[in-house]
Protein backbone atom coordinates (compact mmCIF):
# COMPACT_ATOMS: atom_id res chain seq x y z
CA UNK A 1 0.00 0.00 0.00
CA UNK A 2 2.63 2.43 1.08
CA UNK A 3 4.58 1.64 -2.00
CA UNK A 4 1.72 2.66 -4.29
CA UNK A 5 1.09 5.86 -2.45
CA UNK A 6 4.63 6.96 -2.85
CA UNK A 7 4.48 6.50 -6.62
CA UNK A 8 1.33 8.56 -7.00
CA UNK A 9 2.64 11.45 -5.01
CA UNK A 10 5.86 11.56 -7.00
CA UNK A 11 4.34 12.03 -10.47
CA UNK A 12 3.22 15.48 -11.54
CA UNK A 13 0.33 15.73 -13.99
CA UNK A 14 0.97 18.74 -16.17
CA UNK A 15 0.73 19.48 -19.85
CA UNK A 16 3.82 21.18 -21.17
CA UNK A 17 2.72 24.54 -22.55
CA UNK A 18 6.04 25.72 -23.89
CA UNK A 19 5.11 24.70 -27.44
CA UNK A 20 1.83 26.59 -27.39
CA UNK A 21 3.19 29.80 -28.96
CA UNK A 22 4.57 27.75 -31.82
CA UNK A 23 1.21 26.14 -32.43
CA UNK A 24 -0.54 29.48 -32.28
CA UNK A 25 1.96 31.04 -34.65
CA UNK A 26 1.46 28.26 -37.09
CA UNK A 27 -2.30 28.84 -37.10
CA UNK A 28 -1.66 32.54 -37.35
CA UNK A 29 0.47 32.17 -40.45
CA UNK A 30 -2.13 29.93 -42.03
CA UNK A 31 -4.84 32.50 -41.59
CA UNK A 32 -2.57 35.36 -42.60
CA UNK A 33 -1.81 33.62 -45.87
CA UNK A 34 -5.38 32.62 -46.65
CA UNK A 35 -6.97 35.93 -45.70
CA UNK A 36 -8.00 38.13 -48.56
CA UNK A 37 -8.81 41.53 -47.21
CA UNK A 38 -11.73 42.90 -49.16
CA UNK A 39 -10.15 44.23 -52.32
CA UNK A 40 -12.90 46.45 -53.64
CA UNK A 41 -15.41 48.70 -52.02
CA UNK A 42 -18.79 48.03 -53.47
CA UNK A 43 -20.51 51.10 -54.81
CA UNK A 44 -23.57 49.21 -55.91
CA UNK A 45 -26.02 47.19 -53.85
CA UNK A 46 -25.48 43.52 -54.44
CA UNK A 47 -27.90 40.81 -53.49
CA UNK A 48 -27.02 37.67 -55.41
CA UNK A 49 -29.69 35.33 -56.65
CA UNK A 50 -29.75 31.61 -56.02
CA UNK A 51 -29.36 28.65 -58.34
CA UNK A 52 -28.84 24.94 -57.81
CA UNK A 53 -26.91 23.78 -60.89
CA UNK A 54 -23.76 25.72 -60.30
CA UNK A 55 -20.06 25.08 -60.50
CA UNK A 56 -17.09 26.34 -58.59
CA UNK A 57 -14.39 28.47 -60.10
CA UNK A 58 -11.19 26.83 -59.01
CA UNK A 59 -8.66 29.26 -60.44
CA UNK A 60 -9.32 32.50 -58.65
CA UNK A 61 -6.38 34.16 -60.39
CA UNK A 62 -8.22 34.13 -63.67
CA UNK A 63 -11.35 35.79 -62.39
CA UNK A 64 -12.22 39.40 -62.96
CA UNK A 65 -15.40 40.77 -61.50
CA UNK A 66 -18.06 43.05 -62.92
CA UNK A 67 -20.65 44.25 -60.45
CA UNK A 68 -24.10 45.40 -61.45
CA UNK A 69 -26.83 46.76 -59.28
CA UNK A 70 -28.53 49.89 -58.00
CA UNK A 71 -26.01 52.55 -57.06
CA UNK A 72 -25.57 53.33 -53.38
CA UNK A 73 -26.24 56.98 -52.77
CA UNK A 74 -25.44 58.89 -49.58
CA UNK A 75 -28.12 58.62 -46.95
CA UNK A 76 -28.96 54.94 -47.52
CA UNK A 77 -30.67 55.64 -50.80
CA UNK A 78 -30.45 53.63 -53.95
CA UNK A 79 -30.09 55.08 -57.41
CA UNK A 80 -30.32 53.62 -60.88
CA UNK A 81 -28.65 50.39 -61.95
CA UNK A 82 -24.96 50.93 -62.55
CA UNK A 83 -21.96 48.87 -63.61
CA UNK A 84 -18.91 48.75 -61.42
CA UNK A 85 -15.53 47.41 -62.50
CA UNK A 86 -12.76 47.28 -59.92
CA UNK A 87 -13.20 50.36 -57.74
CA UNK A 88 -15.08 52.68 -60.02
CA UNK A 89 -18.51 52.95 -61.51
CA UNK A 90 -18.46 52.88 -65.28
CA UNK A 91 -21.06 55.30 -66.61
CA UNK A 92 -20.21 54.84 -70.25
CA UNK A 93 -21.15 51.28 -71.18
CA UNK A 94 -19.10 51.60 -74.39
CA UNK A 95 -15.92 51.97 -72.33
CA UNK A 96 -16.26 48.45 -70.96
CA UNK A 97 -14.84 46.83 -74.06
CA UNK A 98 -11.54 48.69 -73.69
CA UNK A 99 -11.28 47.95 -69.99
CA UNK A 100 -11.98 44.27 -70.48
CA UNK A 101 -9.74 44.05 -73.54
CA UNK A 102 -6.82 45.39 -71.50
CA UNK A 103 -7.53 42.77 -68.85
CA UNK A 104 -7.68 40.05 -71.46
CA UNK A 105 -4.24 41.02 -72.76
CA UNK A 106 -2.86 40.67 -69.24
CA UNK A 107 -4.59 37.35 -68.61
CA UNK A 108 -5.51 35.47 -71.79
CA UNK A 109 -7.55 32.87 -69.91
CA UNK A 110 -9.70 35.46 -68.22
CA UNK A 111 -13.03 34.47 -66.72
CA UNK A 112 -15.43 37.33 -66.18
CA UNK A 113 -17.62 36.81 -63.18
CA UNK A 114 -20.81 38.83 -63.40
CA UNK A 115 -22.10 39.67 -59.98
CA UNK A 116 -25.54 41.05 -60.61
CA UNK A 117 -28.16 42.12 -58.14
CA UNK A 118 -31.21 39.88 -58.38
CA UNK A 119 -33.61 42.75 -59.00
CA UNK A 120 -31.65 44.51 -61.72
CA UNK A 121 -33.04 44.28 -65.21
CA UNK A 122 -31.82 42.00 -67.95
CA UNK A 123 -31.38 44.90 -70.39
CA UNK A 124 -28.29 46.25 -68.70
CA UNK A 125 -26.79 42.78 -68.55
CA UNK A 126 -27.26 42.22 -72.25
CA UNK A 127 -25.60 45.57 -73.02
CA UNK A 128 -22.62 44.53 -70.92
CA UNK A 129 -22.52 41.11 -72.56
CA UNK A 130 -22.41 42.74 -75.98
CA UNK A 131 -19.41 44.75 -74.84
CA UNK A 132 -17.76 41.59 -73.55
CA UNK A 133 -18.27 39.97 -76.93
CA UNK A 134 -16.59 42.94 -78.60
CA UNK A 135 -13.71 42.74 -76.13
CA UNK A 136 -13.27 39.04 -76.81
CA UNK A 137 -13.78 37.91 -73.22
CA UNK A 138 -16.08 35.02 -73.92
CA UNK A 139 -15.78 33.01 -70.73
CA UNK A 140 -18.26 34.37 -68.28
CA UNK A 141 -19.81 33.19 -65.08
CA UNK A 142 -23.07 34.31 -63.54
CA UNK A 143 -22.25 34.47 -59.88
CA UNK A 144 -24.97 32.95 -57.72
CA UNK A 145 -25.39 31.53 -54.29
CA UNK A 146 -26.13 27.88 -53.73
CA UNK A 147 -29.81 27.18 -53.44
CA UNK A 148 -30.78 25.20 -50.38
CA UNK A 149 -32.75 22.22 -51.59
Amino acid sequence: MAHFKKKQAGSKQEIPTSAMPDVVFMLLFFFMVTTVLREVTLKVKLDLTQASNIEKIEQKRLVSYIYMGPERLPGNQLGDDKVQIDDAIVDDIGAIRNIMYDKLIEEPKLIVSLRVDQNSEFGLLTDVQKELQQAGTFRINYSTKREAD
Binding site: S52, I57, E121, G136
Partner: protein, 179 residues
Protein backbone atom coordinates in the same frame (compact mmCIF):
# COMPACT_ATOMS: atom_id res chain seq x y z
CA UNK B 1 27.19 48.73 -7.15
CA UNK B 2 28.01 49.32 -10.80
CA UNK B 3 29.36 45.85 -11.31
CA UNK B 4 26.24 44.33 -9.91
CA UNK B 5 23.99 46.25 -12.26
CA UNK B 6 25.95 45.09 -15.27
CA UNK B 7 25.58 41.49 -14.33
CA UNK B 8 21.79 41.56 -14.67
CA UNK B 9 21.22 39.95 -18.03
CA UNK B 10 19.16 41.94 -20.53
CA UNK B 11 16.14 39.79 -21.25
CA UNK B 12 12.84 40.32 -22.99
CA UNK B 13 9.92 38.83 -21.21
CA UNK B 14 8.57 36.29 -23.62
CA UNK B 15 5.63 35.06 -21.64
CA UNK B 16 3.17 37.44 -23.29
CA UNK B 17 4.18 36.43 -26.79
CA UNK B 18 1.48 33.76 -26.84
CA UNK B 19 -1.10 36.40 -25.94
CA UNK B 20 0.01 38.64 -28.80
CA UNK B 21 -0.07 35.72 -31.18
CA UNK B 22 -3.54 34.82 -29.99
CA UNK B 23 -4.75 38.34 -30.54
CA UNK B 24 -3.46 38.37 -34.12
CA UNK B 25 -4.84 34.89 -34.66
CA UNK B 26 -8.30 35.94 -33.56
CA UNK B 27 -8.14 39.00 -35.82
CA UNK B 28 -7.34 36.92 -38.87
CA UNK B 29 -9.87 34.27 -37.88
CA UNK B 30 -12.58 36.89 -37.87
CA UNK B 31 -11.55 38.63 -41.09
CA UNK B 32 -10.92 35.49 -43.13
CA UNK B 33 -13.57 34.48 -45.58
CA UNK B 34 -12.76 31.23 -47.27
CA UNK B 35 -15.38 31.66 -49.94
CA UNK B 36 -15.27 29.92 -53.23
CA UNK B 37 -16.92 31.76 -56.04
CA UNK B 38 -19.79 29.73 -57.42
CA UNK B 39 -22.01 30.39 -60.37
CA UNK B 40 -23.31 29.30 -63.73
CA UNK B 41 -20.56 29.18 -66.31
CA UNK B 42 -21.26 30.23 -69.89
CA UNK B 43 -19.27 30.91 -73.02
CA UNK B 44 -20.39 33.87 -75.09
CA UNK B 45 -20.40 33.60 -78.86
CA UNK B 46 -18.08 35.83 -80.87
CA UNK B 47 -19.67 39.04 -82.14
CA UNK B 48 -21.86 38.63 -85.20
CA UNK B 49 -20.61 39.68 -88.57
CA UNK B 50 -23.49 41.71 -90.04
CA UNK B 51 -22.79 40.55 -93.59
CA UNK B 52 -22.67 36.90 -92.74
CA UNK B 53 -25.96 35.04 -92.79
CA UNK B 54 -26.68 32.97 -89.69
CA UNK B 55 -26.35 29.25 -90.39
CA UNK B 56 -29.60 27.51 -91.22
CA UNK B 57 -31.15 25.62 -88.33
CA UNK B 58 -33.95 23.16 -88.72
CA UNK B 59 -37.02 24.31 -86.87
CA UNK B 60 -37.43 21.05 -84.99
CA UNK B 61 -33.94 21.26 -83.51
CA UNK B 62 -34.59 24.63 -81.97
CA UNK B 63 -36.40 25.08 -78.68
CA UNK B 64 -37.39 28.70 -78.23
CA UNK B 65 -37.97 29.70 -74.66
CA UNK B 66 -39.45 33.11 -74.08
CA UNK B 67 -39.64 34.58 -70.60
CA UNK B 68 -41.39 37.82 -69.91
CA UNK B 69 -40.88 40.25 -67.06
CA UNK B 70 -43.51 38.54 -64.93
CA UNK B 71 -41.73 35.20 -65.13
CA UNK B 72 -44.25 33.60 -67.51
CA UNK B 73 -42.73 31.10 -69.90
CA UNK B 74 -43.46 30.24 -73.51
CA UNK B 75 -41.80 27.16 -74.97
CA UNK B 76 -42.25 26.93 -78.73
CA UNK B 77 -45.30 29.21 -78.54
CA UNK B 78 -46.91 27.19 -75.78
CA UNK B 79 -47.34 28.53 -72.25
CA UNK B 80 -45.63 26.25 -69.75
CA UNK B 81 -45.46 26.54 -65.96
CA UNK B 82 -41.89 27.04 -64.79
CA UNK B 83 -41.94 23.79 -62.80
CA UNK B 84 -42.44 21.76 -65.99
CA UNK B 85 -39.72 23.45 -68.02
CA UNK B 86 -37.09 20.94 -67.06
CA UNK B 87 -39.09 17.81 -67.95
CA UNK B 88 -40.19 19.39 -71.23
CA UNK B 89 -36.60 20.23 -72.08
CA UNK B 90 -35.35 16.74 -71.31
CA UNK B 91 -38.08 15.34 -73.53
CA UNK B 92 -37.12 17.77 -76.31
CA UNK B 93 -33.38 17.09 -76.17
CA UNK B 94 -33.49 13.36 -75.69
CA UNK B 95 -36.58 12.63 -77.82
CA UNK B 96 -36.71 8.91 -76.97
CA UNK B 97 -39.81 8.24 -79.07
CA UNK B 98 -38.45 9.93 -82.17
CA UNK B 99 -41.18 12.57 -82.27
CA UNK B 100 -41.18 14.53 -85.51
CA UNK B 101 -41.41 17.87 -83.77
CA UNK B 102 -38.61 17.38 -81.27
CA UNK B 103 -34.85 17.39 -81.76
CA UNK B 104 -33.35 14.97 -84.30
CA UNK B 105 -30.59 13.97 -81.91
CA UNK B 106 -29.35 15.37 -78.57
CA UNK B 107 -26.24 16.89 -80.14
CA UNK B 108 -28.35 18.78 -82.69
CA UNK B 109 -30.68 20.30 -80.12
CA UNK B 110 -30.35 24.01 -79.53
CA UNK B 111 -32.02 25.83 -76.68
CA UNK B 112 -32.67 29.48 -77.32
CA UNK B 113 -33.44 31.62 -74.31
CA UNK B 114 -35.01 35.00 -74.85
CA UNK B 115 -36.18 37.51 -72.33
CA UNK B 116 -37.32 41.09 -72.23
CA UNK B 117 -35.16 43.97 -71.17
CA UNK B 118 -37.36 44.50 -68.12
CA UNK B 119 -37.04 40.92 -66.90
CA UNK B 120 -35.43 40.80 -63.47
CA UNK B 121 -32.08 39.07 -63.35
CA UNK B 122 -33.30 36.48 -60.87
CA UNK B 123 -35.98 35.21 -63.27
CA UNK B 124 -33.42 34.95 -66.06
CA UNK B 125 -31.08 33.00 -63.82
CA UNK B 126 -33.92 30.75 -62.70
CA UNK B 127 -34.62 29.86 -66.32
CA UNK B 128 -30.95 29.33 -67.12
CA UNK B 129 -30.74 27.16 -64.03
CA UNK B 130 -33.58 24.98 -65.33
CA UNK B 131 -31.84 24.56 -68.69
CA UNK B 132 -28.56 23.69 -66.96
CA UNK B 133 -30.47 21.28 -64.72
CA UNK B 134 -31.99 19.52 -67.72
CA UNK B 135 -28.56 19.01 -69.27
CA UNK B 136 -27.15 17.87 -65.95
CA UNK B 137 -29.90 15.25 -65.57
CA UNK B 138 -29.29 13.98 -69.09
CA UNK B 139 -25.53 13.81 -68.68
CA UNK B 140 -25.94 12.11 -65.33
CA UNK B 141 -28.24 9.49 -66.81
CA UNK B 142 -25.88 8.85 -69.73
CA UNK B 143 -22.89 8.61 -67.43
CA UNK B 144 -24.67 6.21 -65.10
CA UNK B 145 -25.77 3.87 -67.86
CA UNK B 146 -22.39 3.89 -69.60
CA UNK B 147 -19.95 3.97 -66.71
CA UNK B 148 -22.05 3.39 -63.61
CA UNK B 149 -21.01 6.61 -61.95
CA UNK B 150 -22.62 10.06 -61.87
CA UNK B 151 -21.26 12.66 -64.28
CA UNK B 152 -19.62 14.65 -61.49
CA UNK B 153 -17.48 11.65 -60.56
CA UNK B 154 -15.79 11.53 -63.96
CA UNK B 155 -12.36 13.11 -64.06
CA UNK B 156 -11.99 16.44 -65.85
CA UNK B 157 -10.93 16.09 -69.50
CA UNK B 158 -11.07 12.31 -69.30
CA UNK B 159 -12.20 10.49 -72.47
CA UNK B 160 -15.36 9.41 -70.65
CA UNK B 161 -16.27 12.97 -69.73
CA UNK B 162 -15.56 14.20 -73.24
CA UNK B 163 -17.73 11.46 -74.68
CA UNK B 164 -20.67 12.45 -72.49
CA UNK B 165 -20.10 16.08 -73.41
CA UNK B 166 -20.17 15.18 -77.08
CA UNK B 167 -23.40 13.25 -76.56
CA UNK B 168 -25.08 16.18 -74.83
CA UNK B 169 -23.32 19.39 -75.80
CA UNK B 170 -24.76 22.43 -74.12
CA UNK B 171 -25.96 24.49 -77.04
CA UNK B 172 -27.62 27.41 -75.37
CA UNK B 173 -28.25 30.60 -77.22
CA UNK B 174 -28.99 33.76 -75.32
CA UNK B 175 -31.04 35.85 -77.70
CA UNK B 176 -31.03 39.61 -77.63
CA UNK B 177 -34.24 41.17 -76.36
CA UNK B 178 -36.28 42.91 -79.04
CA UNK B 179 -37.39 46.08 -77.36
Amino acid sequence: MLKKKKREGAEINGSSMADIAFLLLIFFLVTTTINVDTGIGMVLPPPLDPEQEPPPIRERNLMKILVNAQGLVLMDEEPVPITEVRTKLIEFIDNPEGNEELAVSPDAAIVSLKTQRETPYSIYIDMLDEVMGAYKDLRDAASRSNYGVPYDALADDSPQQNQIQDMYPKKISIAEPDS
